[in-house]
Protein backbone atom coordinates (compact mmCIF):
# COMPACT_ATOMS: atom_id res chain seq x y z
CA UNK A 1 0.00 0.00 0.00
CA UNK A 2 2.94 2.29 0.66
CA UNK A 3 3.81 2.19 -3.00
CA UNK A 4 0.33 3.41 -3.92
CA UNK A 5 0.57 6.24 -1.37
CA UNK A 6 3.95 7.17 -2.82
CA UNK A 7 2.59 7.20 -6.35
CA UNK A 8 -0.52 9.18 -5.37
CA UNK A 9 1.78 11.71 -3.74
CA UNK A 10 4.11 11.93 -6.71
CA UNK A 11 1.09 12.62 -8.83
CA UNK A 12 -0.36 15.24 -6.48
CA UNK A 13 2.97 17.06 -6.26
CA UNK A 14 3.27 17.00 -10.04
CA UNK A 15 -0.10 18.65 -10.53
CA UNK A 16 0.79 22.35 -10.47
CA UNK A 17 -2.76 23.60 -10.70
CA UNK A 18 -3.81 21.55 -7.69
CA UNK A 19 -0.73 22.59 -5.72
CA UNK A 20 -1.36 26.24 -6.51
CA UNK A 21 -4.96 26.12 -5.36
CA UNK A 22 -4.30 24.17 -2.20
CA UNK A 23 -0.92 25.55 -1.12
CA UNK A 24 -0.47 29.07 -2.52
CA UNK A 25 -4.01 30.34 -3.01
CA UNK A 26 -5.06 30.38 0.69
CA UNK A 27 -1.99 32.49 1.51
CA UNK A 28 -2.82 34.89 -1.31
CA UNK A 29 -6.36 35.38 -0.01
CA UNK A 30 -4.92 35.79 3.47
CA UNK A 31 -2.74 38.65 2.30
CA UNK A 32 -5.66 40.29 0.51
CA UNK A 33 -8.13 40.25 3.40
CA UNK A 34 -5.84 40.54 6.44
CA UNK A 35 -4.71 44.04 5.50
CA UNK A 36 -6.64 45.71 8.32
CA UNK A 37 -5.71 46.72 11.80
CA UNK A 38 -7.97 46.30 14.80
CA UNK A 39 -9.73 43.39 16.36
CA UNK A 40 -12.53 41.12 15.33
CA UNK A 41 -15.57 41.81 17.53
CA UNK A 42 -16.14 39.47 20.41
CA UNK A 43 -12.97 37.41 19.92
CA UNK A 44 -10.17 39.59 21.21
CA UNK A 45 -8.15 38.47 18.18
CA UNK A 46 -6.50 40.75 15.65
CA UNK A 47 -7.88 40.60 12.12
CA UNK A 48 -4.64 38.99 10.94
CA UNK A 49 -4.63 36.16 13.45
CA UNK A 50 -8.37 35.61 12.98
CA UNK A 51 -8.03 35.37 9.20
CA UNK A 52 -4.90 33.25 9.54
CA UNK A 53 -6.83 30.43 11.17
CA UNK A 54 -9.66 30.80 8.65
CA UNK A 55 -7.31 30.57 5.70
CA UNK A 56 -5.21 27.73 7.11
CA UNK A 57 -8.45 25.81 7.62
CA UNK A 58 -9.62 26.80 4.15
CA UNK A 59 -6.35 25.63 2.59
CA UNK A 60 -6.52 22.28 4.35
CA UNK A 61 -10.16 21.93 3.30
CA UNK A 62 -9.23 22.61 -0.32
CA UNK A 63 -6.43 20.08 -0.30
CA UNK A 64 -8.42 17.22 1.15
CA UNK A 65 -11.83 17.85 -0.40
CA UNK A 66 -11.12 19.01 -3.94
CA UNK A 67 -8.49 16.49 -4.92
CA UNK A 68 -10.15 13.35 -3.70
CA UNK A 69 -13.82 13.56 -4.60
CA UNK A 70 -13.30 14.18 -8.28
CA UNK A 71 -10.42 11.72 -8.61
CA UNK A 72 -12.29 8.93 -6.91
CA UNK A 73 -15.43 9.47 -8.99
CA UNK A 74 -13.37 9.50 -12.19
CA UNK A 75 -11.28 6.49 -11.31
CA UNK A 76 -14.35 4.55 -10.31
CA UNK A 77 -15.84 5.23 -13.70
CA UNK A 78 -12.70 4.58 -15.72
CA UNK A 79 -12.29 1.18 -14.11
CA UNK A 80 -9.00 1.89 -12.34
CA UNK A 81 -10.63 1.04 -9.02
CA UNK A 82 -11.68 -2.33 -10.46
CA UNK A 83 -8.18 -2.92 -11.77
CA UNK A 84 -6.79 -2.26 -8.29
CA UNK A 85 -9.20 -4.82 -6.88
CA UNK A 86 -7.32 -7.42 -8.93
CA UNK A 87 -4.20 -6.75 -6.89
CA UNK A 88 -3.29 -7.68 -3.34
CA UNK A 89 -4.16 -4.15 -2.22
CA UNK A 90 -6.77 -4.44 0.54
CA UNK A 91 -10.13 -2.86 -0.23
CA UNK A 92 -9.60 0.10 2.06
CA UNK A 93 -6.09 0.62 0.71
CA UNK A 94 -7.21 2.81 -2.15
CA UNK A 95 -9.19 5.17 0.09
CA UNK A 96 -6.43 5.26 2.69
CA UNK A 97 -3.82 6.07 0.05
CA UNK A 98 -5.96 8.90 -1.27
CA UNK A 99 -6.52 10.29 2.22
CA UNK A 100 -2.87 9.97 3.16
CA UNK A 101 -1.66 11.77 0.07
CA UNK A 102 -4.25 14.54 0.59
CA UNK A 103 -3.03 14.91 4.17
CA UNK A 104 0.53 15.32 2.97
CA UNK A 105 -0.52 18.17 0.65
CA UNK A 106 -2.70 19.82 3.27
CA UNK A 107 0.17 20.16 5.74
CA UNK A 108 2.22 22.63 3.64
CA UNK A 109 -0.94 24.60 2.85
CA UNK A 110 -1.42 25.15 6.60
CA UNK A 111 2.22 25.90 7.29
CA UNK A 112 2.59 28.35 4.39
CA UNK A 113 -0.34 30.44 5.67
CA UNK A 114 1.27 30.51 9.12
CA UNK A 115 4.65 31.53 7.71
CA UNK A 116 3.15 34.31 5.61
CA UNK A 117 1.05 35.51 8.55
CA UNK A 118 4.06 35.61 10.87
CA UNK A 119 6.46 37.14 8.35
CA UNK A 120 4.23 39.66 6.57
CA UNK A 121 1.51 40.50 9.10
CA UNK A 122 3.55 40.00 12.22
CA UNK A 123 1.25 37.49 13.88
CA UNK A 124 2.89 36.32 17.10
CA UNK A 125 1.86 33.28 19.13
CA UNK A 126 3.56 31.08 21.71
CA UNK A 127 5.45 28.08 20.39
CA UNK A 128 2.90 25.64 21.83
CA UNK A 129 0.13 27.52 20.07
CA UNK A 130 1.80 27.18 16.67
CA UNK A 131 2.23 23.47 17.18
CA UNK A 132 -1.26 22.97 18.58
CA UNK A 133 -2.77 24.99 15.73
CA UNK A 134 -0.94 22.99 13.08
CA UNK A 135 -1.91 19.73 14.74
CA UNK A 136 -5.56 20.66 15.28
CA UNK A 137 -6.13 22.00 11.77
CA UNK A 138 -4.30 19.12 10.21
CA UNK A 139 -6.14 16.49 12.24
CA UNK A 140 -9.45 18.29 11.74
CA UNK A 141 -9.01 18.14 7.98
CA UNK A 142 -9.63 14.38 8.21
CA UNK A 143 -13.32 15.20 8.66
CA UNK A 144 -13.35 16.76 5.20
CA UNK A 145 -11.12 14.08 3.70
CA UNK A 146 -13.82 11.60 4.68
CA UNK A 147 -16.43 13.89 3.12
CA UNK A 148 -14.39 14.03 -0.10
CA UNK A 149 -14.25 10.24 -0.26
CA UNK A 150 -18.00 10.02 0.38
CA UNK A 151 -18.75 12.47 -2.46
CA UNK A 152 -16.39 10.54 -4.74
CA UNK A 153 -18.38 7.36 -4.14
CA UNK A 154 -21.76 9.10 -4.20
CA UNK A 155 -21.56 11.17 -7.36
CA UNK A 156 -20.42 10.18 -10.79
CA UNK A 157 -19.62 11.70 -14.13
CA UNK A 158 -20.56 15.30 -14.65
CA UNK A 159 -22.29 15.59 -11.29
CA UNK A 160 -19.21 15.25 -9.15
CA UNK A 161 -17.66 18.64 -9.91
CA UNK A 162 -20.73 20.78 -9.19
CA UNK A 163 -21.51 18.77 -6.05
CA UNK A 164 -17.94 19.20 -4.83
CA UNK A 165 -17.97 22.90 -5.66
CA UNK A 166 -21.28 23.58 -3.92
CA UNK A 167 -20.15 21.64 -0.86
CA UNK A 168 -16.77 23.34 -0.87
CA UNK A 169 -17.97 26.93 -1.25
CA UNK A 170 -21.04 26.35 0.89
CA UNK A 171 -18.98 24.98 3.76
CA UNK A 172 -16.25 27.62 3.38
CA UNK A 173 -18.52 30.65 3.21
CA UNK A 174 -21.29 29.58 5.57
CA UNK A 175 -18.81 28.13 8.03
CA UNK A 176 -17.23 31.58 8.27
CA UNK A 177 -13.86 30.77 6.69
CA UNK A 178 -14.07 33.72 4.32
CA UNK A 179 -15.66 36.29 6.60
CA UNK A 180 -16.59 36.08 10.26
CA UNK A 181 -19.99 34.46 10.57
CA UNK A 182 -20.87 37.16 13.12
CA UNK A 183 -21.44 39.43 10.10
CA UNK A 184 -24.24 37.11 8.87
CA UNK A 185 -27.92 37.80 9.57
CA UNK A 186 -29.11 35.98 12.68
CA UNK A 187 -30.98 33.17 10.88
CA UNK A 188 -27.86 32.35 8.86
CA UNK A 189 -25.72 32.40 11.98
CA UNK A 190 -28.08 29.89 13.52
CA UNK A 191 -27.43 27.55 10.60
CA UNK A 192 -23.71 28.31 10.35
CA UNK A 193 -22.89 27.36 13.91
CA UNK A 194 -23.88 23.74 13.18
CA UNK A 195 -21.56 23.38 10.20
CA UNK A 196 -18.37 21.34 10.51
CA UNK A 197 -16.28 24.14 9.02
CA UNK A 198 -17.53 26.51 11.72
CA UNK A 199 -16.50 24.12 14.46
CA UNK A 200 -13.22 23.48 12.63
CA UNK A 201 -12.20 27.16 12.58
CA UNK A 202 -13.50 27.66 16.13
CA UNK A 203 -11.08 24.98 17.25
CA UNK A 204 -8.13 26.95 15.88
CA UNK A 205 -9.38 30.22 17.32
CA UNK A 206 -9.74 28.72 20.77
CA UNK A 207 -6.06 27.78 20.61
CA UNK A 208 -5.15 31.33 19.57
CA UNK A 209 -7.16 32.67 22.50
CA UNK A 210 -5.32 30.22 24.80
CA UNK A 211 -8.66 28.68 25.69
CA UNK A 212 -9.63 25.09 25.66
CA UNK A 213 -11.91 24.38 22.68
CA UNK A 214 -15.63 24.28 23.29
CA UNK A 215 -17.02 20.82 23.90
CA UNK A 216 -19.79 21.52 21.41
CA UNK A 217 -17.30 22.18 18.59
CA UNK A 218 -15.28 19.07 19.36
CA UNK A 219 -18.42 16.98 19.60
CA UNK A 220 -19.67 18.41 16.29
CA UNK A 221 -16.44 17.50 14.53
CA UNK A 222 -16.47 13.98 15.95
CA UNK A 223 -20.10 13.48 14.91
CA UNK A 224 -19.45 14.82 11.40
CA UNK A 225 -16.38 12.64 11.07
CA UNK A 226 -18.36 9.56 12.09
CA UNK A 227 -21.12 10.56 9.68
CA UNK A 228 -18.85 11.19 6.69
CA UNK A 229 -16.56 8.22 7.32
CA UNK A 230 -19.54 5.94 7.92
CA UNK A 231 -21.23 7.26 4.77
CA UNK A 232 -18.03 6.81 2.77
CA UNK A 233 -17.63 3.24 4.04
CA UNK A 234 -21.25 2.41 3.23
CA UNK A 235 -21.04 3.92 -0.27
CA UNK A 236 -17.74 2.19 -0.83
CA UNK A 237 -19.23 -1.19 0.03
CA UNK A 238 -22.25 -0.52 -2.18
CA UNK A 239 -19.95 0.40 -5.06
CA UNK A 240 -17.85 -2.72 -4.55
CA UNK A 241 -20.87 -5.00 -4.76
CA UNK A 242 -22.17 -3.23 -7.84
CA UNK A 243 -18.95 -2.91 -9.82
Amino acid sequence: MNSLIKLELTRALRNRKFLFFSVIYPSVIFLLVSNQTGKVDGTGLSVSSYVMVSMASFGALTAVLMGNSERIAKERESGWVRQLRLTTLPGRGYVLAKTASAAVVSLPSIVVVFLVAAAVRGVRLDAWQWFALTGAIWAGSLVFAALGVAIGYLASGDAVRPITMITYFGLSILGGLWMPSSTFPQWLQDIAKWLPTHAYAALGRAIEQSQSPETKDLALLVVYFALFAGGAAWLYRKDTLKA
Binding site: S3, L7, E77, G79, L86
Partner: protein, 311 residues
Protein backbone atom coordinates in the same frame (compact mmCIF):
# COMPACT_ATOMS: atom_id res chain seq x y z
CA UNK B 1 -20.55 -30.14 2.60
CA UNK B 2 -22.19 -31.74 -0.44
CA UNK B 3 -20.61 -34.79 -2.09
CA UNK B 4 -19.65 -32.80 -5.25
CA UNK B 5 -17.26 -30.56 -3.35
CA UNK B 6 -15.68 -33.48 -1.54
CA UNK B 7 -14.81 -35.17 -4.83
CA UNK B 8 -13.45 -31.95 -6.27
CA UNK B 9 -11.04 -31.35 -3.40
CA UNK B 10 -10.00 -35.00 -3.18
CA UNK B 11 -8.43 -34.86 -6.66
CA UNK B 12 -6.29 -31.86 -7.63
CA UNK B 13 -8.39 -28.72 -7.59
CA UNK B 14 -8.95 -27.31 -11.06
CA UNK B 15 -7.47 -23.91 -11.83
CA UNK B 16 -10.97 -22.54 -12.15
CA UNK B 17 -14.13 -24.32 -11.11
CA UNK B 18 -17.65 -23.00 -11.69
CA UNK B 19 -20.42 -25.09 -10.20
CA UNK B 20 -23.99 -24.17 -11.20
CA UNK B 21 -23.18 -20.46 -11.15
CA UNK B 22 -25.94 -17.96 -11.87
CA UNK B 23 -25.98 -14.18 -11.92
CA UNK B 24 -29.03 -12.07 -12.68
CA UNK B 25 -29.33 -8.32 -13.32
CA UNK B 26 -32.93 -7.32 -12.88
CA UNK B 27 -34.74 -9.66 -15.24
CA UNK B 28 -31.68 -10.54 -17.33
CA UNK B 29 -29.92 -13.81 -16.57
CA UNK B 30 -26.37 -12.85 -17.46
CA UNK B 31 -24.97 -16.22 -16.36
CA UNK B 32 -27.31 -19.17 -16.12
CA UNK B 33 -26.27 -22.30 -14.26
CA UNK B 34 -22.74 -22.29 -15.61
CA UNK B 35 -20.56 -25.26 -14.75
CA UNK B 36 -17.03 -25.53 -16.05
CA UNK B 37 -13.48 -26.41 -15.05
CA UNK B 38 -10.17 -25.15 -16.39
CA UNK B 39 -7.05 -27.27 -16.01
CA UNK B 40 -3.41 -26.29 -15.54
CA UNK B 41 -1.59 -25.23 -18.69
CA UNK B 42 -4.64 -24.81 -20.88
CA UNK B 43 -5.10 -21.82 -23.15
CA UNK B 44 -8.82 -21.30 -23.28
CA UNK B 45 -10.88 -18.91 -25.42
CA UNK B 46 -14.22 -17.71 -24.22
CA UNK B 47 -16.43 -16.92 -27.20
CA UNK B 48 -19.87 -15.49 -27.43
CA UNK B 49 -21.90 -12.76 -29.09
CA UNK B 50 -22.28 -9.44 -27.27
CA UNK B 51 -24.33 -9.91 -24.13
CA UNK B 52 -23.54 -13.62 -23.94
CA UNK B 53 -22.21 -13.19 -20.43
CA UNK B 54 -18.48 -13.30 -21.15
CA UNK B 55 -17.55 -10.26 -19.08
CA UNK B 56 -19.85 -11.29 -16.24
CA UNK B 57 -18.26 -14.74 -16.23
CA UNK B 58 -14.80 -13.21 -15.96
CA UNK B 59 -15.96 -10.76 -13.28
CA UNK B 60 -17.34 -13.66 -11.25
CA UNK B 61 -14.09 -15.55 -11.71
CA UNK B 62 -12.10 -12.57 -10.48
CA UNK B 63 -14.38 -11.86 -7.53
CA UNK B 64 -15.44 -8.48 -8.92
CA UNK B 65 -19.00 -9.72 -8.85
CA UNK B 66 -20.65 -12.26 -6.61
CA UNK B 67 -22.79 -15.10 -7.88
CA UNK B 68 -26.46 -15.20 -6.90
CA UNK B 69 -26.14 -18.96 -6.59
CA UNK B 70 -23.53 -21.64 -7.19
CA UNK B 71 -19.85 -21.54 -6.30
CA UNK B 72 -16.80 -20.11 -8.00
CA UNK B 73 -13.45 -21.57 -6.96
CA UNK B 74 -10.03 -20.50 -8.15
CA UNK B 75 -7.18 -22.87 -7.26
CA UNK B 76 -9.55 -24.42 -4.76
CA UNK B 77 -10.16 -21.15 -2.90
CA UNK B 78 -12.32 -18.10 -3.35
CA UNK B 79 -11.28 -15.66 -6.11
CA UNK B 80 -10.09 -12.99 -3.69
CA UNK B 81 -7.85 -15.46 -1.80
CA UNK B 82 -6.33 -16.60 -5.09
CA UNK B 83 -5.59 -12.99 -6.06
CA UNK B 84 -4.07 -12.17 -2.68
CA UNK B 85 -1.88 -15.27 -3.03
CA UNK B 86 -0.60 -13.79 -6.31
CA UNK B 87 -1.88 -16.67 -8.42
CA UNK B 88 -4.03 -14.60 -10.79
CA UNK B 89 -3.09 -11.80 -13.17
CA UNK B 90 -5.90 -10.11 -15.03
CA UNK B 91 -6.52 -7.56 -17.72
CA UNK B 92 -9.97 -6.06 -17.82
CA UNK B 93 -11.74 -4.79 -20.88
CA UNK B 94 -12.56 -1.43 -19.33
CA UNK B 95 -9.45 -1.40 -17.20
CA UNK B 96 -8.98 2.29 -16.60
CA UNK B 97 -5.50 3.35 -15.63
CA UNK B 98 -4.14 5.87 -13.19
CA UNK B 99 -3.74 9.23 -14.95
CA UNK B 100 -0.79 11.59 -14.77
CA UNK B 101 1.78 8.98 -13.87
CA UNK B 102 4.28 7.42 -16.26
CA UNK B 103 4.02 3.93 -17.69
CA UNK B 104 7.12 2.88 -15.74
CA UNK B 105 5.69 4.19 -12.46
CA UNK B 106 2.45 2.36 -12.98
CA UNK B 107 4.15 -0.93 -13.85
CA UNK B 108 6.41 -0.49 -10.82
CA UNK B 109 3.28 -0.15 -8.68
CA UNK B 110 1.85 -3.38 -10.09
CA UNK B 111 5.14 -5.15 -9.34
CA UNK B 112 5.18 -3.76 -5.79
CA UNK B 113 1.65 -5.02 -5.22
CA UNK B 114 2.38 -8.56 -6.48
CA UNK B 115 3.51 -11.18 -3.94
CA UNK B 116 5.79 -12.85 -6.51
CA UNK B 117 6.87 -9.86 -8.59
CA UNK B 118 9.13 -9.69 -11.63
CA UNK B 119 11.49 -6.77 -12.13
CA UNK B 120 9.60 -3.80 -13.55
CA UNK B 121 12.24 -3.46 -16.28
CA UNK B 122 11.63 -7.02 -17.47
CA UNK B 123 7.84 -6.62 -17.35
CA UNK B 124 8.09 -3.51 -19.52
CA UNK B 125 10.37 -5.27 -21.98
CA UNK B 126 8.17 -8.35 -22.23
CA UNK B 127 5.07 -6.27 -22.86
CA UNK B 128 7.01 -4.35 -25.52
CA UNK B 129 6.57 -0.97 -23.86
CA UNK B 130 10.14 -0.17 -22.75
CA UNK B 131 10.36 2.63 -25.30
CA UNK B 132 7.24 4.35 -23.94
CA UNK B 133 8.16 3.81 -20.27
CA UNK B 134 8.54 7.54 -19.59
CA UNK B 135 5.33 8.55 -21.27
CA UNK B 136 2.33 9.66 -19.23
CA UNK B 137 -0.39 7.05 -19.08
CA UNK B 138 -3.09 9.46 -20.26
CA UNK B 139 -1.10 10.21 -23.45
CA UNK B 140 -1.16 6.66 -24.82
CA UNK B 141 -2.91 5.31 -27.90
CA UNK B 142 -5.54 2.62 -27.43
CA UNK B 143 -3.17 -0.17 -28.43
CA UNK B 144 -0.39 1.13 -26.17
CA UNK B 145 -2.80 1.34 -23.25
CA UNK B 146 -3.78 -2.29 -23.89
CA UNK B 147 -0.11 -3.26 -23.66
CA UNK B 148 0.23 -1.39 -20.38
CA UNK B 149 -2.79 -3.28 -19.06
CA UNK B 150 -1.13 -6.48 -20.20
CA UNK B 151 2.02 -5.48 -18.32
CA UNK B 152 -0.07 -4.95 -15.17
CA UNK B 153 -1.57 -8.43 -15.61
CA UNK B 154 1.87 -10.02 -15.96
CA UNK B 155 3.75 -8.06 -13.30
CA UNK B 156 4.39 -11.20 -11.29
CA UNK B 157 4.63 -14.95 -11.49
CA UNK B 158 0.90 -15.72 -11.62
CA UNK B 159 -0.42 -19.19 -12.51
CA UNK B 160 -3.54 -17.98 -14.27
CA UNK B 161 -3.80 -15.05 -16.66
CA UNK B 162 -7.27 -13.74 -17.45
CA UNK B 163 -7.75 -11.38 -20.38
CA UNK B 164 -11.01 -9.75 -21.37
CA UNK B 165 -10.91 -8.76 -25.07
CA UNK B 166 -7.17 -8.05 -24.85
CA UNK B 167 -6.55 -6.98 -28.45
CA UNK B 168 -9.37 -4.45 -28.77
CA UNK B 169 -7.96 -1.27 -30.25
CA UNK B 170 -4.84 -2.93 -31.66
CA UNK B 171 -4.01 -3.05 -35.36
CA UNK B 172 -3.20 -6.37 -37.05
CA UNK B 173 0.56 -6.31 -36.48
CA UNK B 174 0.17 -5.21 -32.87
CA UNK B 175 -2.29 -8.04 -32.39
CA UNK B 176 0.17 -10.57 -33.77
CA UNK B 177 2.93 -9.26 -31.55
CA UNK B 178 0.59 -9.38 -28.59
CA UNK B 179 -0.30 -13.03 -29.13
CA UNK B 180 3.35 -13.94 -29.56
CA UNK B 181 3.93 -12.47 -26.10
CA UNK B 182 0.89 -14.27 -24.79
CA UNK B 183 2.14 -17.60 -26.13
CA UNK B 184 5.36 -17.16 -24.16
CA UNK B 185 3.22 -16.89 -21.05
CA UNK B 186 1.34 -20.07 -21.96
CA UNK B 187 4.55 -21.92 -22.83
CA UNK B 188 5.77 -21.32 -19.29
CA UNK B 189 2.97 -23.58 -18.13
CA UNK B 190 0.47 -20.89 -17.22
CA UNK B 191 -3.22 -21.26 -17.69
CA UNK B 192 -4.57 -18.54 -19.94
CA UNK B 193 -8.22 -17.65 -20.28
CA UNK B 194 -9.25 -14.96 -22.73
CA UNK B 195 -12.51 -13.60 -24.00
CA UNK B 196 -12.50 -12.39 -27.56
CA UNK B 197 -14.75 -11.61 -30.44
CA UNK B 198 -11.99 -12.19 -32.99
CA UNK B 199 -12.69 -15.80 -33.86
CA UNK B 200 -9.47 -16.26 -35.78
CA UNK B 201 -7.63 -15.54 -32.52
CA UNK B 202 -9.51 -18.28 -30.74
CA UNK B 203 -8.89 -20.61 -33.67
CA UNK B 204 -5.16 -19.92 -33.83
CA UNK B 205 -4.30 -19.63 -30.17
CA UNK B 206 -6.66 -21.57 -27.92
CA UNK B 207 -6.32 -25.27 -27.03
CA UNK B 208 -9.89 -25.16 -25.97
CA UNK B 209 -12.87 -23.03 -26.90
CA UNK B 210 -15.88 -22.32 -24.72
CA UNK B 211 -18.92 -20.95 -26.54
CA UNK B 212 -21.18 -18.94 -24.31
CA UNK B 213 -24.67 -17.87 -25.27
CA UNK B 214 -27.21 -16.18 -23.04
CA UNK B 215 -25.15 -17.11 -20.03
CA UNK B 216 -25.03 -20.81 -20.86
CA UNK B 217 -22.26 -22.99 -22.16
CA UNK B 218 -23.24 -24.10 -25.68
CA UNK B 219 -20.06 -25.83 -26.68
CA UNK B 220 -16.79 -26.82 -25.04
CA UNK B 221 -13.96 -28.41 -26.99
CA UNK B 222 -11.04 -27.81 -29.33
CA UNK B 223 -11.63 -25.44 -32.24
CA UNK B 224 -11.81 -28.50 -34.52
CA UNK B 225 -14.47 -30.11 -32.35
CA UNK B 226 -16.52 -26.91 -32.30
CA UNK B 227 -16.35 -26.74 -36.07
CA UNK B 228 -17.43 -30.37 -36.32
CA UNK B 229 -20.28 -29.77 -33.96
CA UNK B 230 -21.58 -26.91 -36.06
CA UNK B 231 -22.48 -29.10 -39.04
CA UNK B 232 -19.15 -29.98 -40.36
CA UNK B 233 -18.84 -28.83 -43.93
CA UNK B 234 -20.02 -26.40 -46.48
CA UNK B 235 -20.69 -27.40 -50.05
CA UNK B 236 -21.02 -24.90 -52.86
CA UNK B 237 -21.65 -25.33 -56.57
CA UNK B 238 -23.21 -23.60 -59.59
CA UNK B 239 -26.18 -24.88 -61.59
CA UNK B 240 -27.14 -23.81 -65.08
CA UNK B 241 -30.64 -22.84 -66.13
CA UNK B 242 -33.65 -22.57 -63.86
CA UNK B 243 -33.01 -24.02 -60.43
CA UNK B 244 -35.60 -26.32 -58.95
CA UNK B 245 -35.29 -25.52 -55.26
CA UNK B 246 -37.48 -28.16 -53.65
CA UNK B 247 -35.32 -31.24 -54.34
CA UNK B 248 -32.20 -29.29 -53.26
CA UNK B 249 -33.81 -28.41 -49.97
CA UNK B 250 -34.77 -32.06 -49.51
CA UNK B 251 -31.15 -33.28 -49.70
CA UNK B 252 -30.07 -35.34 -46.68
CA UNK B 253 -27.98 -33.99 -43.75
CA UNK B 254 -28.53 -30.34 -44.66
CA UNK B 255 -28.26 -27.72 -41.96
CA UNK B 256 -28.74 -24.70 -44.22
CA UNK B 257 -29.30 -23.78 -47.86
CA UNK B 258 -28.59 -20.49 -49.56
CA UNK B 259 -29.38 -20.00 -53.24
CA UNK B 260 -28.36 -16.79 -54.93
CA UNK B 261 -28.43 -16.54 -58.72
CA UNK B 262 -26.88 -19.70 -60.11
CA UNK B 263 -24.84 -20.41 -56.99
CA UNK B 264 -25.98 -22.80 -54.29
CA UNK B 265 -24.30 -22.85 -50.89
CA UNK B 266 -25.27 -25.49 -48.38
CA UNK B 267 -24.02 -26.66 -45.04
CA UNK B 268 -24.12 -30.31 -44.25
CA UNK B 269 -23.39 -32.51 -41.28
CA UNK B 270 -22.39 -35.29 -43.70
CA UNK B 271 -21.03 -33.72 -46.87
CA UNK B 272 -20.22 -37.04 -48.57
CA UNK B 273 -23.80 -38.26 -48.30
CA UNK B 274 -25.16 -34.89 -49.39
CA UNK B 275 -22.99 -34.71 -52.50
CA UNK B 276 -23.85 -38.30 -53.37
CA UNK B 277 -27.56 -37.49 -53.17
CA UNK B 278 -26.97 -34.30 -55.16
CA UNK B 279 -25.67 -36.32 -58.16
CA UNK B 280 -28.65 -38.62 -57.66
CA UNK B 281 -30.92 -35.68 -58.53
CA UNK B 282 -29.60 -35.81 -62.08
CA UNK B 283 -28.27 -32.27 -62.04
CA UNK B 284 -24.79 -31.30 -63.19
CA UNK B 285 -23.15 -29.18 -60.48
CA UNK B 286 -20.23 -27.11 -61.71
CA UNK B 287 -17.36 -25.65 -59.62
CA UNK B 288 -18.21 -28.02 -56.79
CA UNK B 289 -16.35 -27.18 -53.60
CA UNK B 290 -16.47 -28.97 -50.28
CA UNK B 291 -14.74 -27.22 -47.40
CA UNK B 292 -14.65 -27.27 -43.64
CA UNK B 293 -16.42 -24.51 -41.77
CA UNK B 294 -14.28 -21.75 -40.31
CA UNK B 295 -14.68 -21.28 -36.60
CA UNK B 296 -16.59 -18.12 -37.39
CA UNK B 297 -19.27 -19.92 -39.40
CA UNK B 298 -19.31 -22.71 -36.84
CA UNK B 299 -19.89 -20.18 -34.13
CA UNK B 300 -22.69 -18.49 -36.07
CA UNK B 301 -24.27 -21.85 -36.82
CA UNK B 302 -24.17 -23.00 -33.20
CA UNK B 303 -25.61 -19.79 -31.78
CA UNK B 304 -28.23 -19.52 -34.56
CA UNK B 305 -29.35 -23.09 -33.91
CA UNK B 306 -29.73 -22.26 -30.23
CA UNK B 307 -31.72 -19.12 -31.04
CA UNK B 308 -34.02 -21.17 -33.28
CA UNK B 309 -34.50 -23.77 -30.57
CA UNK B 310 -35.48 -21.14 -28.03
CA UNK B 311 -37.91 -19.17 -30.16
Amino acid sequence: MDPMTTTATATTAPVVGFDQVSKTYGTVRAVDGLTLALHPGETVALLGPNGAGKSTTLDLLLGLKHADSGTVRVFGTGPREAIVAGRVGAMLQSGGLMDEVTVAELVKLACDLHPKPYKAKDVLARAGISQIADRKVNKLSGGQAQRVRFALATAGDSDLIVLDEPTTGMDVSARQAFWATMREQADQGRTVLFATHYLEEADAIADRVLVLHRGRLLADGTAAEIKAKAGARRVSFDLEGAIDEAPLRALPFLTSVDISGQTVRIQSSDADATVHALYGLGVYPRNLEVAGLGLEQAFVAITAAEEAKQS
